[in-house]
């Protein structure tokens, strides 16, 4: 670890907070129907869209209607994308002439992009036509991100309103999230990416003549535009198989910084939006502080573990001065690679600029654990905020009891119904991650996909299901996941992690919306101070630790001790 490295990390994170703050305030205005700078341009478009779709923008929905609308849109998105993937061979904009995608891979990929996971069991440049990349995948990148933002806003309304039956209008929230937030940001970020050297073209490949005279086709395409929404919408699905480690997706330090900044931006901004809508900015700061503390702690562990290097290699005579550089790009360096690893897993982004499978045992433990903590640090666009709110509800429940009152969050009493819904949501991740992992390791057929034996193999499987259920989409690599078993089960894990999670959370929001807000008093536990921040961090760590410690002990933890003892597999 170096001072300059930490300085780089600090500067990038400061830039994120400095820009997320105005964006968050802007979003609170957008979703509360107030005028913004973009209103003159977007209002007519918005009105036109509502008129065409027959949406009455002033009519709000109950949580059930809101959720059903969301499920209908995402269901339709899945069907369209699946059809597109199965029929790409007959469709235009396919310069490389790729054939239809296999049914299980099409199922997996369609779910993956609808759920904002962007798990890619395929190599993009060798499987998908430009049409699929642009009309299928990129459109879903927008829709899944907008869905996340809309849901987060609906949940925020549920908590901050008093005694109402509605949480907003899904169609309006979707439209505004796309028109006012994602589209303008993507245009700006795509131009910035292009400026750093990322290609943006409809051509399929360029030919290069190698030194030995042979010709090599180098894949290119509309990369910058997809890269922008991939990061802004915490989708993470790369144009190329090696994702942000590829020199065309992420050519240099500037593009790397731009990648990190743009993936953290919206999720961070939503905490400010939350505070604004709650009428108490400090409530948002508190949630952001929790995210920041845990994120930075994660970076410290990865940075430390990676720069200290592999003792086995050092004893074998390899120069250990640079730390563990296997799987890293020299152009990014240790500090920003560590930040990228932790940010992409603390978010449910899943873009990678480093091979996670090449991380040290403890360095690999962190991204895995970040995902297992529930993708809330700061989490995917929208999903991070509502995931954090579920943890906050749980925290105030225990804390509220300890101060001798029926627990309240932002003046809303947390009672049996709320606890039931919060616990239902919490059960989804361990069920999907641990359940499918255990099932996989008991199937010899599934174990054939592993590249590594021993604890590392277990980590690869655990990581795959964590990534899918957490809607992260990054791969630890080392697991050949394009098999019917993994395509099907990872697809189910993604569905569970997205939709089985959001239904109880929306029910929770609906139930809270109907409650009368009670005024705070000296006997109320304040949810904007250091005490709450500390407690929330404790609850997240202890709850996550208790769920996954046995599994992690058999994966990265034991591997760490084995490595120190000099044992390899």
């Amino acid at each position: 670890m170096t001072f300059v490295g930490w300085l780089q990390i600090a500067l990038v994170l400061s830039a994120v907070v400095a820009t997320a703050w105005p964006l968050g305030i802007y979003m609170s205005r957008v979703f509360q129907g107030q005028r913004t700078v973009l209103s003159p341009v977007m209002m007519p478009v918005e009105r036109l869209l509502y008129a065409a779709a027959g949406v009455q923008p002033a009519k709000e929905q109950s949580w059930i209607a809101y959720t059903l609308a969301m499920l209908a849109l995402n269901g339709a998105g899945f069907v369209l994308l699946y059809t597109l993937l199965r029929s790409q061979g007959w469709l235009p904009l396919n310069p490389q002439g790729f054939g239809a995608v296999s049914p299980d891979l099409a199922f997996n990929t369609a779910i993956s992009f609808v759920t904002n996971t962007n798990w890619q069991a395929y190599g993009g440049e060798t499987t998908m036509s430009h049409l699929v990349q642009m009309v299928g995948l990129t459109v879903q990148n927008f829709l899944s991100a907008a869905t996340g933002i809309a849901l987060a806003i609906a949940v925020t309304r549920g908590i901050t309103r008093s005694a109402v039956g509605t949480v907003g209008n899904f169609w309006v929230d979707m439209t505004r999230a796309t028109l006012y937030v994602l589209l303008p940001l993507s245009i700006v970020v795509a131009i910035l990416f292009a400026a750093t050297g990322v290609p943006q073209t409809l051509a399929g490949s360029v030919d290069a003549v190698n030194l030995d005279g042979s010709k090599q086709a180098i894949a290119i395409g509309p990369v910058a535009s997809q890269e922008a929404i991939k990061q802004i919408g915490t989708n993470g699905g790369g144009f190329f198989n090696t994702n942000s480690a590829h020199p065309f997706e992420n050519p240099n330090t500037w593009s790397n910084i731009l990648s990190i900044w743009s993936m953290l931006l919206v999720s961070t901004a939503l905490t400010f939006t939350f505070g604004r809508m709650a009428g108490d900015a400090r409530q948002g700061y508190a949630l952001l502080s929790v995210m920041a503390v845990l994120l930075i702690a994660g970076v410290a562990v990865v940075y430390g573990a990676e720069t200290s290097g592999n003792p086995l290699l050092a004893s074998a005579g390899v120069d250990a001065a640079g730390g563990n550089m296997e799987g890293k790009e020299v152009r990014f360096g240790q500090a920003l690679s560590a930040l990228y690893v932790v940010a992409t897993t603390g978010l449910s982004c899943g873009a990678v600029n480093t091979m996670h499978n090449s991380l040290m045992p403890l360095g690999g433990l962190v991204p895995l654990f970040m995902i297992q903590l529930g993708e809330i640090l700061p989490g995917g666009v929208g999903s991070g905020l509502y995931g954090m709110i579920v943890m906050a509800v749980l925290t105030v429940f225990v804390a509220g009891l300890m101060v001798g009152r029926t627990p309240e969050y932002l003046g809303k009493r947390i009672e049996a119904r709320e606890m039931k819904l919060a616990m239902l949501a919490l059960l989804i991740l361990p069920l999907a991650i641990l359940g499918f992992s255990a099932a996989s390791v008991m199937m010899p057929k599934a174990l054939e996909s592993l590249a590594n034996a021993g604890p590392r193999g277990l980590t690869e499987i655990l990581y795959a299901y964590s990534s899918a259920a957490g809607n992260n989409g990054s791969a630890f690599a080392g697991l050949s996941a394009n098999t019917p078993w993994y395509n099907a089960t990872l697809g189910m894990a993604m569905l569970l992690g997205r939709f089985a999670y959001i239904i109880p959370v929306m029910a929770l929001a609906g139930s809270l919306a109907a409650k009368t807000k009670s005024p705070a008093s000296a006997g109320t536990f304040p949810t904007d101070g250091g005490m709450f921040i500390g407690l929330l961090i404790g609850v997240i760590l202890i709850l996550g630790g208790l769920q996954y410690f046995p599994a992690l002990a058999l994966g990265p933890i034991v591997e760490h001790f084995l490595m120190q003892a000099g044992r390899t597999f």
Binding site: S162, L394, F397, V398, A399, G400, L401, M402, V403, G404, R405, T406, G411, I414, E415, A416, E418, M419, M423, L426, L427, P430, L434, G435, S437, A438, V441, M442, L447, P455, L458, T516, K517, S518, P519, S521, A522, G523, T524, F525, P526, G529, M531, L535, I542, G545, L546, Q547, Y548, F549, P550, A551, A553, L554, V558, F561, L562, Q564, A565, R567
Partner: protein, 684 residues
């Protein structure tokens, strides 16, 4: 306030019955009410089956399996024991109450409509119906709850209240309700029965203290859901661990997996949860308050606003003399002397307070005046003046205008200082009494409604707890404001009618506040019913007692404060033990995980932070600790954790430090000690 003698925490008799009870509570239909303990019971049965199977097949490790099975059963038994002890303390009180509900013979009046016809026939109290009219004479026990329709009697209500001083009950007004099981000491009354057999106040009280009608309260339900959810999560973690361990080349036995599961699921709080609830109700009863439901006790902890009647709660209810002000040329001492003389024969509280003030602060001695040489001028509503004539002196005190008329002055002719004093007293909500003698005006006595000395500190305490106090009074706004300032209440309602009270409660509730109030009159009943916590006074009317959700047997309105604290204590005990229970899991992981896998991965021994002797002793020690901690915490569960009226943050910091940090550290120490014992004794 009388506090019932607390039954000893570990009273021998209660303990014996609790041991029996904890075995009886193993019945599955009883156990299923507590999900965490039900899971523990089921897996204990599973390990027992494994033990029997191994015993038959002669497998290895029989001693280990047997010990784990035994300790799992102990875990369930200890939890049952906690509940049984809590119930036992209530039962002891219920038995005492039940003795008073013996089969009292009642005198059923045959012609209740005829007031002069006292012809009655004997009938068992258990056969009385609603609407029957019975005659109760001196020495009789009142057979059922009812309303006095005729007569007046002194009644000993100690069976219900524990207070042996008799109270007066009479027909009409706010003191007409009588309770079955109480004893008429003198005179006679005719009582119309208002409660059906089996649902009298005494019956309800017995049912409550026994816990027979106990249902889970809203917060207890929410906590049970959290605990059940945690249990499910750990179930997933443990079941899948079997598969993951298989991949790593470790075959985990059912016994060790179950040991891991039971140590992880929140058995500590799960086992003590119902005991905490029962003990909370019991604590309330020891304060002589009967709550209709546990829900009301919980609500008491959440109360934001206390509505308190001024009279009797905040003030003594009588205007008392607090100062003497002299006219120019005289001293306060002169006023004191005149006032003392004028009040010598005044037996009203005001008069006695004047005497007390004059003798106390102005050190005036007893005055001996022979009755033959003096004549007392008594107070009358017409003259509004009283006094004493003796030795040619005439001393008078009374309403300002009446005294001015006596000294033949108009208000404007009186000295400016006198007028100022009168106005100043009136402005602060006091009552000025003028004093005069044969020579003219002497001065003014300042009478005021005196605020109880310690009440301001209590309100400050409440404010620290986050509770607002609102004073309700029939006084005019000026008086009300003065007393409100002096007592330190947050708000007041002056010239309040019962409708005002009701309207105030409704408007506060619409703002999301929870309101507590107490009352005794029939006209309080709507407000008592509307309030979230309505405490009716035992001396109150039947209507008030029906409307409230608590009855204070001591009829002490300030007890609302204790009730609130008991409610808070109940929730805090639950929250703190939940935190303790979950924090415990960290140490248990460090005991069991290395023990499970050290055979496959010896390097995982690095996680054996406690340096436990063998894998078997580590697992067994964790299970034993898990069982024993329940017993160790029974006293805490029954007594509740200490509540201090400080702000929420300070309270949380304290409880987190004790139960969070403590819950983290204690098992590391405890498991290590048990491990040393287990390995020394050669148990594993």
């Amino acid at each position: 306030m009388s506090i019932r003698p607390q039954s000893e925490l570990f009273d021998g008799n209660i303990l014996r019955q609790a041991v029996m009870g904890s075995v009886l509570k193993l019945a599955p239909q009883k156990l299923v009410r507590n999900p965490v303990m039900f899971v523990t019971g089921v897996v204990a049965a599973l390990v027992t089956i494994v033990f029997v199977r191994d015993a038959v097949t002669g497998a290895n490790g029989l001693g280990f399996t047997g010990q784990v099975a035994a300790w799992l059963w102990f875990t369930v038994l200890f939890a049952n024991f906690a509940e049984a002890v809590a119930e036992g303390r209530g039962k002891a009180q219920a038995d005492a109450l039940r003795r008073t509900r013996s089969d009292t013979p009642a005198k059923l009046l045959l012609h209740p409509d005829d007031a002069d016809d006292n012809l009655w026939q004997p009938k068992s109290a258990l056969d009385l119906n609603q609407g029957d009219v019975v005659l109760v004479e001196a020495g009789d026990t009142i057979p059922a709850d009812g309303e006095i329709i005729e007569g007046i009697a002194s009644v000993n209500e100690s069976a219900i209240t524990g207070e042996s001083a008799p109270v007066i009950r009479e027909s009409g007004g706010d003191r007409s309700a009588v309770t079955g099981g109480t004893l008429v000491l003198s005179d006679w009354i005719k009582v119309k029965v208002t409660a059906a057999p089996g649902s009298t106040f005494l019956d309800r009280m017995i049912a409550l203290v026994e816990g027979a009608e106990r249902q889970k309260t809203p917060n207890e339900l929410a906590l049970s859901i959290l605990l059940s959810g945690m249990t499910l999560i750990f179930l997933i973690a443990v079941v899948t661990l079997w598969g993951l361990a298989g991949y790593s080349g470790t075959v985990l036995s059912l016994t060790v997996l179950i040991a891991l599961l039971v140590t992880l699921i929140p058995t500590t709080i799960g086992g003590l949860l119902s005991a905490i609830g029962i003990a909370g109700m019991d604590r309330l009863i020891r304060f002589n308050v009967v709550a209709v439901s546990g829900r009301a006790v919980e609500a008491a902890g959440d109360v934001d606003t206390l509505l308190l009647d001024k009279t009797g709660t905040i003030t003594y209810g009588n205007r008392l003399a607090t100062a003497f002000v002299a006219v120019p040329g005289l001293t306060a001492h002169d006023v004191a002397e005149a006032a003392l003389l004028a009040s010598l024969s005044d037996e009203t509280p005001e008069g006695r307070s004047i005497v007390a003030l004059a003798k106390g602060e102005y050190s005036l001695g007893d005055v001996n005046i022979q009755a033959s040489q003096s004549s007392i001028i008594p107070f009358s509503a017409q003259t509004r003046i009283s006094g004493l004539d003796f030795d040619g002196r005439t001393i008078r005190k009374g309403a300002v205008d009446a005294v001015l008329a006596f000294v033949k002055l108009t208000y404007d002719e009186s000295p400016a200082e006198f007028r100022e004093a009168v106005q100043a007293i009136a402005r602060t909500g006091g009552t000025p009494l003028a004093v005069a003698n044969e020579r003219g005006l002497v001065g003014v006595i300042h009478l005021k409604d005196v605020v109880k000395p310690d009440i301001k500190a209590r309100f400050a305490e409440l404010r620290a707890m986050g509770i607002r106090t609102v004073m309700v009074t029939g006084d005019n706004p000026v008086t009300a404001a003065a007393i409100a300032t002096e007592a330190g209440v947050d708000d007041y309602i002056a010239e309040a009618t019962p409708q005002d009270k009701l309207a105030y409660i409704k408007s506060e509730q619409a703002k999301g506040r929870l309101i507590a109030m107490c009352g005794d009159g029939t006209n309080d009943a709507p407000a008592l019913a509307q309030a979230d916590v309505g405490v009716a006074m035992q001396t109150g009317t039947q209507a008030a007692r029906e409307a409230g959700n608590m009855v204070d047997l001591d009829s002490d309105p300030t007890k609302l404060i204790e009730i609130t604290q008991i409610g808070k204590q109940l929730l805090m005990t639950r929250g703190s033990l939940t935190t303790f229970s979950i924090a415990n899991d960290v140490a248990k992981y460090f005991a069991i995980i290395p023990a499970l896998f050290v055979a496959t991965y010896p390097q995982l021994g690095a996680l054996n932070l406690m340096g436990l002797a063998t894998p078997e002793s580590a697992i067994l020690s964790a299970v034993i600790f898990n069982a024993l901690i329940i017993v160790a915490l029974i006293p805490l569960a029954l007594n509740g954790i200490a509540y201090r009226p400080v702000g929420a943050v300070a309270l949380l910091r304290r409880n987190l430090a004790i139960y969070g940090l403590g819950g983290f550290v204690v098992p590391f120490v405890g498991i290590k000690i048990i491990d040393v014992a287990v390995s020394t004794l050669g148990l594993a």
